[in-house]
């Protein structure tokens, strides 16, 4: 019995110290973002180009195909795209700190190494929610309408997914830290196929069967579908699949990321 409670106590202590360490890393990561909120706009250039130049084309060419308002189909896409760009590139920040020595210094502190990853990944939620809000607000005058409750759930889903992609991006940075150019090669190579095979830019229903089959294995496709439904205030089964895909991405991302981080000294 005493053994059990001693074990329980140490578990509580360990969890508490992990939470404290994660809080320190998170606060450190957030400080530059909060000091310069406009920095989140830098990551939005590409999605805004798609929104401004691709969106009108879409409205003209497949206004009927996606049913109803094109914006309610395309704005959720752009929101996911922004999250994807922002979180998949975030590893480059760590890569920079790996090169300068800032990361090494933290490895010598008593911080739990897992907190170095968890804190960084949790921070991703802040810019991604900020960016999503900017896009939604910008599109209101153009006729984009959304359900408030569904919209909040859509942001929450996005945040979970973003933590997962962010973690994977950090894991990639740690894996290629001795050949840093590999980071962008891998990131770009994975990003665009994942985007196209998610039906984010154009509906896949018009594509060949093999593309639709690949999309079935693409977690991003489920997240995009769920985002569209949630912003519209609808709750079909695809919302559940979206949460499952985002949750799995987060679990896999954090697991891989923490393992890479713990080994990052060698």
């Amino acid at each position: 019995m005493s053994v059990m409670s001693a074990y329980g106590n140490s578990m509580v202590q360990r969890t508490r110290s992990l939470a404290r360490d994660t809080g320190i890393v998170l606060a450190r990561e957030l400080r530059p973002v909060l000091a310069d909120p406009f920095s989140v706009l830098f990551g939005m250039v590409q999605p805004l180009v798609f929104l401004g130049l691709f969106g009108p084309l879409l409205a003209g060419s497949l206004g009927g195909a996606v049913g109803g308002n094109v914006w309610s189909w395309f704005v959720p896409s752009i929101v996911v795209m922004t999250t994807l760009f922002g979180t998949s590139t975030t590893g480059s920040n760590l890569l920079f700190e790996l090169q300068t020595g800032a990361h090494e210094r933290m490895l010598v502190t008593p911080l739990r190494r897992s907190s170095l990853l968890i804190g960084r990944s949790l921070k991703e939620m802040v810019p991604l929610v900020g960016q999503a809000l900017v896009i939604v607000l910008v599109m209101l005058p153009f006729g984009f309408r959304f359900d408030p409750v569904g919209g909040l759930l859509a942001l929450a889903l996005l945040a979970v997914f973003g933590v997962g992609i962010g973690s994977l991006s950090y894991a990639l940075a740690l894996a290629v830290r001795k050949q840093d150019w590999m980071f962008w090669l891998v990131q770009q190579t994975l990003l665009y196929p994942a985007m196209i095979l998610s039906g984010m830019l154009l509906p896949l229903s018009a594509g060949p069967g093999w593309m639709q089959a690949l999309a079935k294995a693409n977690p991003l496709a489920y997240v995009v579908d769920a985002e569209r439904a949630l912003f519209a205030g609808e709750y079909p089964a695809s919302v559940g699949w979206g949460w499952l895909a985002a949750g799995l991405t987060a679990v896999v991302g954090l697991t891989v990321g923490i393992r890479s981080m713990v080994r990052s000294a060698e």
Binding site: I24, R28, T100, G101, A102, E104, V108, P110, K178
Partner: protein, 351 residues
């Protein structure tokens, strides 16, 4: 403070090729010492330091730092050491004061204490005016001072006897002479104010010579000498003399005479402009044919040489004595000069 026994580290590079970066280092450092690890690039200095700071696990051997094993009790070691690595510790998009504050929290200080400590260190390292600047806007010297400040956040501020050990990996590399002197003045003052042990690596010979109390010479992953700089120079290197014959044709004869001086060794004839390899670059000895040698007592040897040369009818155009340097020590130990950079080994910068 530090006790290592037969510490080794192997790196696997490429396909199965193993580089033995550290091959059996046994070292004891007592509390309060200021020790320099000196050696060429690739000698294993940094790898040794990375093992002592828990960044790398040793391949074999043991190391106890501040009373704890670097592998089994890494967390306890980390609490008791400060580390200033080769790179910059502060994140470039962070503000100076924020990084010091975060660093304090990382070492377990409470928020108000971390804030107060950040203020103290900004003051101590003359960074107060830069507190709200971004790290990326600092000059190299300012960044290095910030690195040292960050290594000291959790140093005891009283003489409580709590052990504290500061590791500095090439703290002054890349700094201009003014900034180097300035950084050393800060480190000196810190050591007077609070009890601490300092272990540093350097490849600046003059720095190891002038600033540290004990020099551990490392080469090919092993300790080849360990003493005070003065003792090393006295034991392992004599004075160096350079003499130039007025008539270049008699240089060989002059060399014979030099060879008969007490303790003369390494007698060589330098052709062309002699590169004496020391700071005195405006040496008067610039003629084509110069004899260089090592003797026991340079200042006494020269007048004697002048007399015997005169008797032999050789006129000496110029002469000079150099006191021994740590480079001479290294040269004597290894046959290579530290100044030529030794051989560079990839393992030093790796990982």
């Amino acid at each position: 403070m530090i006790r290592t026994r037969a510490l080794t580290k192997d790196f696997t590079v490429g396909k199965g090729r193993v580089v033995q970066a550290v091959r059996g280092i046994t070292l004891t450092v007592e509390p309060g010492e200021l020790v320099a690890l000196l050696g060429p690039n690739g000698a294993g200095k940094t790898t040794t330091m990375r093992m002592l700071t828990t960044l790398l696990a040793p391949t074999s051997g043991t190391a106890t730092v501040a009373g704890f094993d670097v592998v089994a009790d890494a967390a306890e070691v980390r609490r008791r050491i400060g580390y200033v690595g080769q790179g910059n510790a502060a994140g470039h998009n962070q503000k100076v004061r924020d990084e010091l504050y975060s660093q304090g929290l990382m070492y377990g200080l409470r928020r108000p204490d971390a804030r107060r400590r950040a203020g103290e260190l900004l003051e101590a390292l003359e960074l107060t005016d830069l507190a709200d600047r971004k790290v990326s806007a600092l000059s190299g010297g300012q960044r290095r001072r910030l690195d040292v400040a960050m290594g000291l956040v959790h140093a005891p501020t009283d003489r409580s006897g709590r052990p504290f050990l500061l590791f500095l990996d090439e703290p002054t590399t890349g700094l201009d002479p003014h900034n180097r002197a300035n950084l050393w003045a800060h480190i000196d003052r810190m050591r007077r104010q609070q009890e601490m042990t300092v272990v540093l690596t350097t490849h600046y010979l003059d720095e190891a010579d002038a600033m540290t109390e004990r020099v551990v010479v490392v080469d090919h992953g092993q300790i080849i000498a360990d003493d005070t700089a003065d003792a090393l120079k006295a034991k392992l290197a004599g004075d160096r003399i350079m003499v130039t014959a007025l008539d270049p044709g008699r240089t060989a004869e002059l060399a014979d005479l030099v060879g008969k001086l007490p303790g003369a060794r390494d007698v060589t004839i330098i052709r062309g402009t002699p590169g004496n390899g020391s700071e005195q670059s405006t040496t008067p000895v610039t003629a084509a044919n110069t004899v260089q040698a090592r003797v026991d007592d340079g200042p006494a040897a020269l007048p004697e040489l002048t007399i015997v040369a005169h008797q032999a009818g050789i006129r000496i155009a110029a002469s000079q004595v150099f006191g021994p340097t740590l480079d001479d020590v290294f040269l004597n130990l290894t046959g290579r000069s530290l100044r030529e950079g030794g051989e560079t080994d990839a393992t030093e910068s790796q990982s």
